[in-house]
């Protein structure tokens, strides 16, 4: 029993070590270092030895000195085997080992004898593994997008693995792709169109949604339950099914290639979500306030503008942020309705840019950075408001 636990523990911790060192090596390779293999066998042997020695030594040496000792041994052997690597790479390896030894420090022979110890250890390492794995898998494409936008066509073709940026060059050549897409590809105009469309959608949606949500939340009328259930069903309806009829109707009415057309469609598609989120919030506002207002002979318009809106600023702003993000990210309708470059939105413009095989990829990535940044900024900055709304199922995708 004890040996089985011991073996499992050393294996799990070793695989974790292999994983973090491999990620570090991949990142180092992408800085232009010439690393041809991971040396998995050597890391494996060291991992097993360190895990075992750590248990063996236990508390005889202070944790801090122990970590330093193990890390140094590993770094020296690793540095000896893969020669001629810069200092920063070895410092990284040292820090990783220090982190690793610190993590396994808390386990001892006594721990391993406890009930379910291997499962507990497995789950703990799985969590650590998951955090690193998902951070890497999710952030890597974003990292690549950003780096590529700062590179030149030649640099990208000569060594696709070199992600290092030369910060020594002056700013105009560093941000060259951005200057080019603004000057030659008219991106300023597309940003303006996207902003007008998104902000316009937010305003119109709120103007339509607030009264409707208020009526559904507060007033009694025939068809109320039908309306509130059909909101969700309509929300599930696929956009791709609407495309052809809307395309034909908009063509005949001359609404294609116009901002008005996009505004109408975006408003209609975001309305159900907005009404659903708002009516939920309106229901939580105490009724007494409105009753007092009715006694004061306030009309419904007065009730909404003087009582409901001031009280639900947080909900309204989170709905506004959502609608903004949906409209900003929208692609399907802008692809269908816009074919004149003068009325392109950002997403459509980037897709149009990529249609030309000659377009250098760094321009495409610079455009992608421009369209992504506002959304990520809004998301990170207002995360607290947005997450609760997201769970209400509000961003369609």
């Amino acid at each position: 029993m004890k040996t089985k636990n011991l073996i499992l523990f050393t294996l799990i911790s070793t695989f974790f070590l292999i994983f973090i060192v491999s990620i570090w090596k991949i990142l180092a390779t992408l800085q232009g270092l010439n690393i041809q293999n991971f040396n998995l066998q050597i890391i494996f042997i060291f991992g097993v030895l360190i895990s075992f020695a750590n248990l063996r030594i236990g508390n005889k040496i202070k944790g801090f000195y122990k970590s330093i000792l193990f890390s140094l041994i590993f770094v020296i052997c690793d540095g000896y085997l893969i020669q001629k690597l810069p200092l920063w790479y070895n410092i990284g390896i040292f820090l990783i080992l220090y982190f690793f030894v610190n993590k396994i420090n808390k386990y001892s022979f006594v721990n391993l004898r406890e009930q379910h110890s291997t499962q507990i250890i497995f789950f703990e390492f799985l969590t650590l593994f998951g955090i690193l794995f998902f951070s890497f898998v999710i952030l890597f494409p974003f990292y690549m997008m950003l780096i590529t936008s700062f590179k030149t066509q030649i640099a990208l073709l000569v060594n696709p693995l070199d992600f290092s940026i030369n910060f020594g060059q002056d700013l105009t050549s560093l941000f060259k792709s951005y200057f080019v897409i603004f000057e030659s590809y008219n991106f300023g105009r597309y940003i303006l169109t996207s902003t007008i469309v998104s902000v316009g959608t937010v305003i119109i949606t709120l103007i339509f949604a607030i009264p409707a949500a208020y009526a559904i939340a507060r007033l009694n009328f025939f068809g109320k339950t039908f309306m509130s259930t059909s909101i969700l069903i309509i929300y599930m309806f696929p956009a791709i099914v609407l495309v052809i009829p809307l395309y034909t109707i908009f063509s005949q009415l001359g609404l294609r290639n116009s901002i008005e057309g996009l505004l109408i469609v975006y408003t209609a598609t975001t309305l159900p979500v907005a009404i659903y989120m708002l009516q939920g919030y309106f229901k939580s506002i105490p009724k007494e306030l409105e009753e007092a207002a009715i006694l004061d002979k306030l009309s419904w318009f007065g009730i909404i503008t003087k009582i409901i809106i001031p009280l639900s600023i947080p909900a309204i702003s989170s709905v506004a942020l959502y609608v903004f993000m949906i409209a900003w990210n929208e692609f399907l309708f802008s692809l269908m309705f816009l074919d004149n470059p003068n009325s392109f939105t950002l997403s459509r413009a980037i897709q149009y840019l990529s249609g030309d095989a000659e377009t250098p990829r760094q321009y495409l990535m610079a455009g992608s950075v421009i369209v992504t940044l506002p959304v990520l900024f809004i998301f990170v900055y207002f995360e607290k408001y947005l997450v609760s709304g997201l769970t209400a199922g509000s961003v369609k995708g």
């Binding site: 997008m145 791709i240 009829p245 005949q252 959304v375």
Partner: protein, 419 residues
């Protein structure tokens, strides 16, 4: 008194909801009915443009005489296939204008020229020349004259409004050789994308539910793929997976894991040998599914995390007292608590993935075995320019979705009964 109060309440409610209801009806519900209508018609993309009578006004001076002027109207029928009936024409002129010779189809009264051109066949063109002079001999301002635009009107058949119906579109869609393949591709894409995103969602939710340093930051990072614009993400992945100089292939070659680059998005099949068994994997489809899982697991993550945080702590404490292992706790407490959320998620994601267009369109454009039904709507409607066919495919999508929802609710209802 009470009755009138209830009545005003009702009236107010209708006034308040009417704008939203009308808009949603016009843009979402009406097109669905229109889809049914169009799917039974033979309509091509070029048919839907309403034919318009058009006139281009060209103003020319005659020799040196500034009080005389020639105006050329280039008249044409904008449609190449449809005729326009009863074309009428109208243009205004300054008060001192007089016409030299009048075309028999026209009359000039009150400084307005009105003409009746009769019927214009398809592709009709005519150069319509008129000469004017001022009755007081004053100089003519050519620019001002050009700014006055003639108005033209005419009647034409709208192919969408007539009542010729056909079953051709449905026949073509349903009895197409590739229809089964299309359905299978759509099903693989939807099913594996949904299952994958839910599994990832469970793993990440379980992970973020532990306490660790930087947990809120981790939660935002996990949502990045879901909130970022699809265009940017799709092109980034395309560059990442590019066979010629993409980062992934370069890395794999650098570490000598593969010898020749793999075209992950452009290769339909790849032969895989596992334990002596050869089988073909649909490579491009698998890659597209991976992208879908990567992009949409955050939704599952959020839903499941919210549910996990609502599970009472006492359940786990009781399990600890009984000496349950972490695996037992996960399978006997956590999983049963989140099955309800998972079944809702499965339905939502299944429906949305079934209709997903942008992701596949941007990554592969539907090539190399990734053509799903929504991609087919686009290809039929806009690449082959057959609006009727596109509509018929959308109707197939709607019918399949309704069938799925119906059987899913039935199944779910049964399971609830059994419990």
């Amino acid at each position: 008194m009470k009755d009138t109060l209830a009545n005003t309440e009702k009236k107010t409610a209708y006034i308040l909801t009417l704008p939203a209801v009308a808009l949603v009806f016009a843009i979402i519900l009406f097109p669905i009915f229109a889809n049914v209508w169009i799917s039974f018609k033979e309509v091509k993309l070029k048919d839907i443009r309403i034919p318009e009578p058009r006139a281009k006004k060209i103003v020319k001076s005659i020799s040196e005489d500034t009080s005389k002027i020639k105006i050329l109207y280039k008249l044409r029928n904008s449609s190449l296939i449809q005729e326009i009936r009863d074309v009428s024409f109208q243009d205004k002129f300054p008060k001192n204008f007089e016409i030299e010779k009048l075309d028999p189809r026209c009359e000039f009264k009150k400084y307005t020229l009105r003409c009746k051109f009769g019927n214009w066949p398809a592709k009709y063109r005519e150069n319509f020349l008129l000469e004017f002079e001022t009755n007081d001999g004053s100089k003519i301002d050519k620019k001002a004259l050009k700014l006055i635009k003639p108005t033209l009107n005419g009647k034409s058949d709208n192919i969408l409004l007539n009542t010729d119906f056909t079953l051709k579109n449905f026949k073509k869609v349903l009895f197409d050789d590739e229809f089964v393949d299309l359905l299978l591709t759509t099903f693989y894409y939807t099913f594996f994308g949904t299952v994958g995103s839910i599994i990832f969602g469970i793993l990440t939710a379980q992970m973020v539910n532990q306490k660790f340093y930087g947990r809120t930051f981790m939660r935002s990072v996990l949502l990045f793929p879901y909130v970022a614009p699809v265009v940017a993400l799709a092109y980034t992945w395309e560059l990442l997976l590019d066979p010629n100089s993409g980062t992934l292939n370069s890395l794999l070659i650098n570490y000598q894991i593969i010898e020749t680059p793999i075209n992950l998005l452009g290769q339909k099949y790849i032969n895989i040998n596992i334990l002596g068994f050869d089988f073909k994997l649909r490579l491009a489809l698998t890659t597209v599914i991976m992208f879908e899982v990567w992009r949409y697991f955050p939704l599952a993550f959020l839903f499941i995390l919210a549910r996990l945080q609502a599970i009472p702590k006492e359940l786990y404490e009781a399990a600890d007292v009984d000496g349950a292992s972490p695996f037992q706790k996960f399978f006997n407490i956590t999983l049963p608590q989140i099955t309800a959320v998972i079944s809702i998620l499965f339905m939502i994601r299944f429906i949305w993935n079934f209709n997903k267009f942008e992701d596949v369109f941007l990554l592969t454009g539907g090539a190399s075995g990734t053509r799903t039904l929504p991609i087919n709507v686009y290809q039929q409607g806009f690449a082959i320019s057959d609006i009727g066919m596109g509509s018929a495919v959308s109707i197939v999508i709607v019918v399949l979705l309704l069938m799925f929802m119906f059987s899913y609710f039935k199944l779910l209802g049964k399971r609830v009964d059994e419990n």
